[in-house]
Symmetry: C2
Subunit: 112 residues, 2 copies
Amino acid sequence: MTPAPTKVVRWDATARRFDPAKMQKVGLFETPRFFLDLYCLEAGQQQKAHAHAESDKVYLVVEGEGAFRVGEETVRLGVGEGVLAAPGEVHGIENDSGERLVVLTFMSPPPS
Amino acid sequence: MTPAPTKVVRWDATARRFDPAKMQKVGLFETPRFFLDLYCLEAGQQQKAHAHAESDKVYLVVEGEGAFRVGEETVRLGVGEGVLAAPGEVHGIENDSGERLVVLTFMSPPPS
């Protein structure tokens, strides 16, 4: 049997995709255990606050800055910072900066 | 009950830790579902090839470049690139560059 090709992805500028209509999700990896996406938000765009009963979600900022809600708190995060939303914690993103915001997003387990 | 403080981490230069003796692992998050570490390799250091029967592992390069083995393949990855090792696939890192290498490393589920 031929081995499956190695799963290499890019999450740099060439991988990013923006849409004036809404935040874009670029899928990088997905398995039964997790997904990894690149969330791309134009200035003013958001991911509406929501919660997952069973999953952790991690946001890691790779470009720009924005307001991240986790539970009852909202924190401002920039490049090189990240935050964890535990199962059941409400979380969301508001790109209230004047620039683009790009976020590596892990979720484990992925939605079923 | 006071809400738990929001779990914010840094994975920028301030979070990195190097040791001439061996690769350093800086823990960022750990839950029953995953861990996220920052692996910091001086020039010439490595993470020896190994496998996990049940877990996915993702390497994302955030500084420098190096050789990443996944299964029977070895790929060169630089900043903005990443690779997935599926359960059972041998994987490891060789920093064969002349510079430091920093890798966000996600594993799901974490070792039991």
